[in-house]
């Protein structure tokens, strides 16, 4: 899969070309190509074990790829020692040196690079002030809170002004409140420094809120690289559809209705049959299905594109209604099709509308076309 719409080359801050990393038979990263622009904050997101941390280690030089080329600022860095790649990494565990004070921790990369003492002290003081940890300089990491350790780890990465920051789930050890604060602080800091950041997370909310572009990884393979809005609106495959978004996209098996149907407010045309009713198809979708000669597909539709509508075309029973502040989500169960229970479908209740009661029989209407995926490969059909 292509990593973006520009050709690989010197314009990228970091460029991965056909990267594979295998451990024996298992490919942790499988033929990954990805271009990261200078000054960009790119979020690499995926479930745990998808290979995203491995990608970071390959960029850092802590591991070498089995195949493929890694470029930093246009220059091939395969086989080049991590210290000569001029990138800094922030680890999930922070990896602060526990026997050194905060000042010594921040100073460590400068010392390792034999920066003169006066300059070291100036840099440490500057970064510490910047991150508001100047009052902690004499403490040892054990005497710091999680958020403070996080800032020290950031300071250590920033102090030598590297070409790029690699951040490996830097916020996942913080409590929820602090995580949201630090998320904003990181985005702001990145904008101020203008340094390229590759940010790894398993949290899709973090990915969607922080990244200008997000790259979704599963089983070592790149699934999609796009803006958060694009990923939400047009997921490249069924995996992305089910992984990104809260709640994730409803993905259900569907078959092409043989003839034209007229349903409620929808125009007559060809429809997809799903459990409990039908969903309309656009002309382009009909053409795509026709071209592939497919009659069964996976239909994906977001909670916000469904609504409880007396004129709707899909019958369901309300299981429960969840309330997140202003937003309410109704989980509705479609009629059972086989031995198993019917599928649960999430439906957003619009602001002014009455929330349905648990157990109430409703009809659901779609007010946007569904995304269609190939049932075998999961790939988007109208891509």
């Amino acid at each position: 899969m292509d990593g973006g719409d520009r050709p690989p080359g010197a314009a990228s801050a970091i460029s991965l070309e056909g990267i594979t990393k295998s451990y024996g038979e298992v490919a942790a990263v499988d033929d990954l190509s990805l271009q990261i622009d200078p000054g960009e904050l790119l979020v690499l997101v995926g479930p745990s074990g998808c290979g995203k941390s491995t990608v970071l280690r390959l960029i850092a030089g802590l591991d070498e790829p089995t195949a493929g080329t890694v470029r930093i600022a246009g220059e091939v860095v395969n086989g080049i020692d991590p210290k000569d790649r001029d990138v800094a990494m922030v680890f999930q565990s922070y990896a602060l040196y526990p026997h050194m004070t905060v000042a010594r921790n921040i100073e460590f990369p400068l010392r390792a690079r034999r920066v003169p003492k006066a300059e070291r002290e100036r840099s440490v003081a500057g970064v510490a002030r910047n991150l508001q940890i100047d009052h902690l300089l004499k403490r040892k990491p054990a005497a710091l809170s999680g958020g403070q350790r996080q800032r020290v780890a950031l300071a250590r990465a920033i102090v030598r002004r590297p070409r790029a920051f690699l951040m490996d789930e830097p916020l996942s050890n913080l409590d929820a409140q602090l995580r949201i604060e630090m998320r904003a602080a990181l985005v702001e800091l990145q904008a101020r420094l203008g340094t390229t950041v590759v940010y790894v997370t398993h949290d899709q909310v973090e990915a969607v809120t922080m990244g200008r572009r997000i790259a979704i990884l599963d089983s070592g393979r790149l699934q999609q690289v796009a803006t958060p809005a694009e990923v939400q609106a047009r997921p490249a495959n069924a995996f992305v559809a089910a992984f990104i978004g809260s709640p994730p996209m409803n993905v259900m098996p569907a078959t092409l209705e043989p003839g034209e149907v007229t349903t409620g407010t929808q125009n007559a045309g060809r429809h997809l049959a799903v459990a409990g009713g039908v969903l309309p198809l656009t002309g382009a979708q009909q053409a795509a299905l026709g071209a592939r000669d497919l009659t069964t597909v996976l239909a994906g539709i977001r909670a916000e594109d469904l609504q409880v509508d007396p004129e709707g075309s899909v019958r369901a029973t309300v299981s429960f209604v969840e309330s997140f502040g202003a937003e309410r989500i109704a989980a509705c169960r479609l009629p059972a099709t086989g031995a198993a229970d019917g599928q649960l479908v999430m439906v957003r209740i619009s602001a002014g509308a009455r929330a349905p009661r648990t157990g109430e029989a409703v009809t659901l209407g779609a007010h946007a076309p569904a995304s269609l995926f190939d049932p075998a490969s999961g790939a988007r059909l109208d891509a």
Binding site: L62, K83, F91, S93, P98, A112
Partner: protein
């Protein structure tokens, strides 16, 4: 008034409970205390007491009370001071080299390589070797006629390394280092495994060379274990007996006569229990002081992760 009475009653009840708790506590430590009393405190007191009596030359005559003067005369004797000096030399020969080798082997075996377990087993195998077996192996290796080591070192024929005044103590030290290396290796390996890989990854990215990483990250984090190995090592080298008894019996010409062997010879070869008791008490005092000093000063430079 009734209020105060109630308070005193409550107080009495509380103090009775405290007493009962204390009694239970003492009861629980009693077995340990009794064992220590029988096998440590009593022999120690007995040794101090014995040191006040001069053992007579003839085994049939009773010892005579001489008081603390025997302590003074033994401690200032050249035989005692000589054995103390050789014990210190022995510790200096064995301990730093032993710990350095243990760390080096542990670093080697810490690599993620195929078949590294074989090396881990080999490096730690001397733990399963008794002092007697180790000594006999080296006795054979150092034999002037048939010993491989003697041959390699160009010392074939003649009286042999163990009979050479210059090389006898270093040779015994080498045997001790070899014998203890397994233990040190296991200690250091365990300590290395406790250091998170991300710390060393971070140091690599921070630009530290492998030597710099070892010196400023690995070694400080190993320091509690190194400290432990030093304390145990000093005590161990002050108590080394088996290898000396088997390899040299204190010879040649007292060149491997370390303190513990001097005590053994005084007591069980020369039957001078008074002298042996004094030397034992002094050895105990030395070890106590050394350990206290180590805890007081060396520990300050040790980092314990909390």
């Amino acid at each position: 008034m009734p209020d105060r009475r109630r308070r005193t009653v409550l107080g009495r009840r509380a103090s009775r409970r405290a007493l009962r708790e204390a009694a239970t506590g003492y009861l629980l430590v009693l077995p340990a205390l009794a064992t220590f009393a029988v096998f440590v405190f009593y022999p120690l007191g007995r040794a101090i007491w014995l040191g006040l009596y001069r053992t007579s030359v003839s085994p049939n005559l009773p010892s005579t009370y001489v008081g603390p003067s025997q302590y003074a005369s033994v401690v200032s004797s050249s035989a005692f001071l000589g054995s103390l000096w050789r014990t210190i030399l022995f510790a200096v020969f064995t301990m730093p080299a032993g710990i350095a080798l243990g760390i080096a082997l542990a670093m080697l075996a810490h690599q993620r390589l195929r078949g590294i377990q074989v090396f881990r087993t080999v490096f730690s195998s001397t733990v399963a070797t008794s002092t007697a077996v180790a000594s006999v192996i080296f006795f054979t290796l150092l034999d002037p006629q048939i010993g491989l080591l003697s041959y390699w070192l160009g010392k074939k024929g003649g009286a042999g390394i163990l009979s050479d005044p210059t090389f006898a103590l270093p040779a015994v030290s080498v045997v001790s280092i070899w014998q203890n290396i397994g233990f040190t290796f296991i200690l250091m390996s365990a300590a290395l495994q406790a250091i998170p890989d991300t710390l060393l990854d971070a140091a690599r990215l921070d630009g530290a060379s492998s030597w710099h990483r070892f010196r400023s990250v690995t070694l400080p984090l190993l320091s509690p274990t190194v400290f432990f190995a030093i304390v145990v090592g000093i005590i161990g080298s002050f108590q080394a007996f088996g290898q000396i008894d088997i390899l040299t019996q204190g010879g040649p010409n007292n060149h491997t006569m370390v303190l513990i062997y001097y005590i053994y010879q005084s007591a069980f070869v020369n039957n001078d229990y008074g002298l042996a008791a004094v030397a034992s008490v002094v050895l105990f005092a030395i070890l106590l002081v050394v350990t206290l000093v180590q805890f007081r000063f060396v520990e300050r430079r040790v980092f314990y992760a909390t």
